[in-house]
């Protein structure tokens, strides 16, 4: 102001006040640098330094023995013998352990720094000098069960696909199999073939990276949306003729089967496409999107920073154009009705569908999936123990109980009867995903026991024509986990 009126020179005192302000301004700038540096180091750097282009990964300290990878029972999945890295389970755990060469993958990549970090480095080095004790990097213990993993690997046989088994109450990943696979021990000899064969794509972890149309298992979400947005969802009945016409577009039930008069419970059990397309149309695209996105579609899984899954993953995508379905008189959006039954452009990973199933099993709460239980130091001490954490809540408790009853009905009186186990209430949903590459993909998700779930399973079989081959695999997983549970109960 004095400037414009030319009042004269500003007094020295005022000028010094301004100087102090400028100093504080600069001080704040420096504080921002410090805060940002601390934030980076504590929050971002654990995931930044594992980036494959970090050449520090390749120039590791040769004198340090790389730590081992164990399953939940202490079975060795990977260990170092001299300069060689051995994988006793070979192909069976390949997609989980990853390989220790060519940029690394899986746990070997994500835990590379930890595996070559020395716990109490000063102490270890002192011991190393005194009595030659080798420098031992930290080991990693997974939540994986190598026996279950072996069974699932064998059950998949020569089929392409993936299996994910999760403990719903904790989010522990008990098994993650993807086929085709490779042997991480021979990666050097087979690399040329593995990295160039895009058709087989054996290096891709289909369980967490493979994107497939979810097919009818998406009806779990459509049913949840009906529960939330259709006031008369329980009474609503529909006469299925095997075909539902929406203007120029038609939705067919599998094999054109006419299911007759169905309510939502029956329609879910028999996987009636016509019913769910009709319901999806009533729900509208925005509401369906809201439910799907709450269940982490279109979201890079918000794992706790630095504690993300040690496998490469892809986010599931809910793709649906702007809808005009809210306008009763408008032409139905063909994409909306397709999406409501899991077709259309919506894509999901088997891991994500396993997480969704686990959420339905766990009272609507989706736990953060994790695979590394803890790290072991050179002296056997436990560090960085992972604790179960809530990831999100796709469903309310009442909603999850209702979904559970639908999924139980699918086993007792519907398409998922192949998974039924005598004396155990199993909840499940089948899915058949039409796709551009030949035969339909078969999906199957299940959890059991329904009242106190111990395992949630997702099986995906590429081009298997339907869910019938997937059901016995899921049953085998559930039986294994239940048998293990009862064994430990006796021991307790």
């Amino acid at each position: 102001m004095d400037l414009r009126q030319g009042k004269g020179l500003m007094g020295m005192d005022e000028m010094k006040r301004n100087m102090r302000r400028v100093f504080w301004f600069l001080f704040i700038l420096f504080s921002l640098v410090v805060i940002n540096l601390g934030r980076f180091l504590l929050i971002e750097s654990p995931s930044v330094v594992t980036h494959p282009t970090n050449t520090r990964l390749k120039t590791g300290d040769r004198s340090i023995i790389r730590g081992s990878i164990y399953d939940s029972a202490g079975r060795v999945l990977a260990e170092s013998e001299g300069q060689k890295r051995v994988y006793p389970y070979g192909n069976i755990t390949a997609h989980v352990t990853g390989y220790n060469m060519y940029g690394k993958a899986g746990v070997e990549a994500k835990y590379n720094f930890r595996l070559e970090s020395l716990h109490m480095e000063v102490l270890q080095r002192v011991r190393n000098i005194i009595d030659g004790t080798p420098l031992q990097g930290n080991s990693v213990t997974l939540t994986l069960d190598a026996q279950l993993q072996t069974q699932m690997h064998d059950a998949l046989g020569n089929r392409r696909g993936a299996v994910v088994v999760i403990e719903p109450s904790t989010g522990k990943i008990l098994s993650m199999v993807s086929k085709p696979d490779y042997n991480p021990e021979n990666i050097e000899q087979t690399w040329g073939e593995l990295s160039t064969d895009a058709e087989r794509a054996a290096l891709i972890n289909r369980a967490s990276q493979g994107l497939y149309p979810p097919g009818s298992i998406f009806k779990i979400l459509t049913a949840a949306a009906a529960y939330e947005f259709l006031p008369n969802y329980a009474e609503f009945e529909y006469e299925c003729t095997g075909l539902a016409q929406f203007g120029p577009n038609a939705i067919h039930c599998v094999n054109g089967t006419a299911h007759g008069r169905v309510d939502i419970r029956k329609a879910f059990a028999v996987s009636c496409n016509s019913f769910f397309a009709t319901v999806g149309f009533k729900i509208g695209a925005e509401n369906l999107r809201a439910v799907a996105e709450r269940a982490l579609f279109n979201t890079a899984y918000p794992y706790l920073p630095g504690l993300e899954l040690p496998v490469e993953y892809t986010r599931s995508s809910f793709a649906l154009g702007v809808s005009n379905a809210s306008d009763e008189n408008s032409v139905p959006n063909s994409e909306l009705i397709e999406t409501a039954i899991g077709q259309g452009r919506t894509l999901a990973t088997p891991l994500h569908m396993a997480m969704l199933t686990a959420a339905a099993a766990n009272g609507g709460i989706m736990m953060r999936p994790y695979m590394v239980d803890h790290e072991l130091t050179d002296t056997g001490g436990i560090v960085n123990k992972s604790l179960p954490a809530k990831l999100c809540a796709p469903f309310t408790f009442e909603e999850s109980e209702w979904l559970k009853s639908l999924m139980v009905a699918a086993v007792t009186e519907g398409t998922a009867s192949g998974v039924s186990i005598p004396g155990v209430a199993v909840a499940a949903k089948t899915g058949t995903a039409q796709n551009g590459s030949g035969e339909d993909h078969g999906w199957f998700v299940a959890f059991a026991p329904a009242d106190k779930p111990q395992a949630a399973v997702c099986v995906l079989l590429e081009n298997s024509g339907g869910a019938r081959y997937a059901q016995p695999i899921a049953r085998q997983a559930i039986e294994y986990v239940l048998a293990l549970g009862s064994k430990t109960d006796i021991q307790d």
């Binding site: 020179l9 020295m12 420096f30 640098v33 980076f40 971002e44 750097s45 120039t59």
Partner: protein, 446 residues
């Protein structure tokens, strides 16, 4: 064994810097307590001198520890003589430099000297990790120091140099214009000229002249019309620098102008208007100049081009993250960052000495700037106050630009880290600025 020593000394270096800072705090505490109790004045003076002496001891110990590690060849069980020689030269510089500086600059502030020497020495140790740079840096230290020691005599020769504002301005413009004509391209910017095989950045010298110019302008009573010319001239300077792709320098000139204007006039609206026009200019520049949008993209998402434009910032993040809190240990960093000797030196320091040391180094910077502001605040003459404030602003903002840039707080602009980075013109000019601050401190004291 050697690995063990390197790992243990990581904590030693952190101890040195914390001790150094603690003595700095003790110095300031004694100074503040002094004037209030007349009888204790002498005692406070003694405490201050003791604290400053302890700081010097910390620098010497840091220098010796670092050079013993740097010179050792673990496989051959011997010390490398050449490295030891550079270390000895550095030691002589620290010892003699401070001695000479306190003789020439009577009544100078030891805290400010110590801060500057700590930064210089940290830079030297880091440069020793890259073949050949430390030796040349020592030469630049000598040159810069000689110039700095001559400065008081030169200033004495020029009567009333506050009246030479036009001279500063035209000399600055001429230097920049010269760079445009005979400049050589380095790191995508045309701001370097080659003199006798040495790369010199005239924009460094222009910074020095620019502060003299602004202080001369702002010391007088100004109407809005009087402001037009300096504002336009500052804009021209910034425009030439932007054209020469020296974005960092352009930003530094702009900020120095705005902040000095604020100090001299207290007009917040001008400052706000300046920020707004800067934002507008940035948006326009982002759209028009490819080299600017590249930098913004590299900052916003370096991973989109991890081996190209984002390479430097990603390597810096790898280095900082890889070093962690305590660092990998001196000589154990991977040092894969490009332009290690200048832009990226802070990331390299974080990798080998750890982020705790890095934050300590930022604290040393803050200490130096706090001291500089003190110099400005005790001035009785308006001109000197403005001059001191100008140098502080220019040094502090430049340090912020590169510290924030290399840690991905702001887009990276290639400027040197004052006193730490390698770079002839940078070291010489920074030392000259420190010299002027001390000169003003001695002149306006008592």
């Amino acid at each position: 064994m050697f690995d063990l020593i390197v790992i243990v000394t990581r904590y030693l270096f952190v101890f040195y810097i914390i001790y150094f800072l603690a003595q700095g705090v003790a110095y300031i505490a004694a100074e503040r307590a002094g004037p209030q109790q007349a009888g204790r004045r002498k005692q406070a003076g003694l405490r201050m001198r003791a604290a400053a002496a302890k700081q010097r001891v910390a620098i010497v110990f840091m220098h010796l520890s670092a050079y013993l590690i740097l010179a050792y060849r673990p496989g051959e069980f011997r010390f490398d003589y050449r490295t030891l020689l550079v270390g000895a030269a550095g030691f002589v510089f620290i010892a003699l430099g401070q001695f000479a500086a306190e003789r020439v600059y009577k009544n100078s502030c030891p805290l400010l000297w110590n801060g500057v020497f700590f930064l210089l020495d940290t830079g030297l140790i880091m440069l020793q990790r890259i073949t050949g740079f430390a030796e040349r840096q020592i030469v630049w230290f000598a040159v810069g120091f000689t110039v700095m020691l001559l400065l008081p005599f030169v200033l004495k020769l020029i009567p009333r140099f506050e009246n030479l504002e036009r001279l500063y301005l035209y000399a600055g413009l001429l230097l920049l214009a010269l760079t445009s004509v005979v400049g050589v391209k380095k790191f995508g910017a045309y701001h370097t000229i080659k003199i006798l095989s040495l790369n010199v950045q005239p924009s460094e010298a222009v910074k020095f002249l620019f502060v003299f110019y602004l202080a001369s302008v702002f010391r007088k009573q100004l109407t809005l019309r009087d402001m037009l010319f300096p504002t336009a001239m500052s804009a021209v300077l910034a425009a030439i620098l932007t054209y020469q792709r020296d974005l960092g320098a352009a930003l530094i000139f702009f900020t120095t102008f705005m902040l000095m204007h604020y100090i001299a006039t207290g007009s917040a609206w001008f400052f706000a208007a300046g920020l707004t026009s800067l934002a507008a200019a940035s948006v326009v520049a982002y759209k028009i100049f490819a080299h600017i949008s590249v930098r913004i993209t590299a900052w916003h998402n370096p991973w989109s081009d991890a081996s190209g434009d984002g390479y430097q910032i990603i390597q810096a993040l790898f280095a900082i993250g890889g070093g962690g809190l305590w660092g990998a240990g001196l000589t154990r960093g991977a040092l894969t960052i490009p332009v290690l000797e200048s832009d990226s030196i802070f990331a390299a320091i974080c990798e080998e000495f750890g982020v705790v040391f890095g934050i300590g180094l930022i604290a040393v910077f803050i200490m130096v700037f706090y001291r500089g502001v003190n110099v400005a605040l005790r001035c009785k003459k308006r001109y000197y106050a403005l001059l001191a404030a100008g140098f502080i602003i220019i040094l502090a903002f430049q340090a912020f630009l590169i510290l924030g840039g290399i840690t991905k707080l702001i887009p990276l602009t290639g400027v040197t880290l004052p006193f730490v980075s390698y770079g002839g013109s940078s070291i010489v000019i920074c030392l000259m600025m420190a010299g002027i601050l001390q000169w003003i401190y001695g002149k306006e004291r008592g």
